[in-house]
Amino acid sequence: MAKRIIYPLYQLGNPQLRIFRPTFNLTLVRPGKEQPPETVQFRIPMEMTKFDVRNYLEKIYSVPVAAVRTRIQYCTNKKRNHSNQRVKRPDYKVAYVQLAQQQTFQFPDIFPEKDKQHEEGSVEEMQEKFMEDERQRQKSDPRRGGVTEWFGL
């Protein structure tokens, strides 16, 4: 679990530790640098290990995992707030998961441009029209051919 939880002590011969109802949250992120096609990048809680990530993905998401590598990203403590106190940006752990069975993953575009058609007489349509008129008014006269207003006439 991600809280301050003490796990049972393990000594040789003890049963395998089972976690029911894990509180670990994985965040899939778009890689900053170009990654190989089978690599998926996650931000994971600090307490998770490579084995935890592998079991999590295999058991909960049924994603076949070949390899997991992790690193801890240290974030700055240099920024200051309005009262000159240092503000720490929290650190996080990054996991690079390579998929098995020659599977690939490409991070999709989740915010595609969508053309919205407002219905007739709605408030949004009137707002859009108003904004369009404003923009038209701001533009200079096209007949001037790009010459600024500074040059009189």
Partner: protein
């Protein structure tokens, strides 16, 4: 409440069907029927879980296609990509969760966990693209539902433990006094060696030294004084109100 229930049900059911339909091409036939038979049981996506809990079934040796089958669950339904708002129902209340069986709660936990992962990925991607996240209140709803589920499960565990063993707490502990004279509940920890061989534990003192005893007494006196003062203040205000609003006029 009923409207909320039905709206959540319809939202959940619609989402169910969409997801089950998209994935049915991969799913085994028996798990699809099992999913549909269980549709009426849970308000929120129990159908989701019956095929998720099967073991990972990629029996095909050569699989070169771009697979996001499992990783698709980190993202919302493709119709919701690019929307400004996404509709979602009310969070689960503890009252509703107490009615559910342990298996249902266990499955619901994983559903909520996956939903939370999806929302976190969406949030991070929105920050990356410098765009507003659609419907950020969903995160709070999921967190609250998970918290309430946790409380319900701990309630059940506590009740079971009390009935079976009579222990009030799962983790043993005792009242101890620390170096500053304060009494606190010390929770035991598991160690592979006994305490008298544990040098770091022996350095941690669980008694107050003799020079700290006067300060304990002083802080106790302070606490008692504040308690008495509070009681006297309450009594004084009541008496003042009684003089302003005497009982005879109230009864009359």
């Amino acid at each position: 409440m009923s409207a909320a229930v039905t709206s959540r049900l319809t939202a959940a059911v619609c989402r169910q069907f969409q997801r089950v339909v998209t994935v049915s091409s991969y799913a085994q036939p028996q798990s699809a029927t099992q999913a549909f038979s269980k549709l009426h049981l849970c308000q929120r996506s129990q159908t989701y879980d019956s095929w998720w809990f099967r073991s990972s079934v990629n029996n095909r040796a050569l699989h070169t296609s771009c697979v996001r089958r499992g990783l698709e669950e980190f993202f919302d339904l493709p119709e919701n990509w690019g929307e400004q708002t996404v509709k979602s129902g009310a969070p689960w209340t503890a009252k509703q969760l107490r009615v559910k069986s342990n298996e249902d709660l266990h499955k619901l936990w994983y559903v909520l966990l996956k939903e939370k992962n999806m929302l976190l990925t969406l949030e991070q991607e929105a920050k990356r693209q410098r765009l507003p996240m659609p419907s950020p209140e969903r995160l709070k709803k999921v967190e609250r539902s998970m918290k309430r589920l946790d409380t319900v499960v701990t309630e059940r565990e506590d009740a079971l433990r009390l009935l079976q063993t009579g222990q009030e707490r799962g983790r043993p502990g005792e009242w101890r006094r620390n170096v500053f004279g304060k009494t606190f509940w010390y929770r035991f920890k598991e160690h592979p060696i006994p305490w008298y061989l544990n040098s770091r534990y022996k350095r941690r003192r669980f008694f107050e030294p003799s020079h700290v005893a006067p300060y304990t007494r002083l802080s106790l006196e302070k606490y008692l004084r504040s308690k008495i003062r509070k009681e006297k203040r309450e009594k004084r205000s009541q008496e003042r109100l009684a003089t302003i609003f005497p009982k005879k006029t109230a009864l009359a």
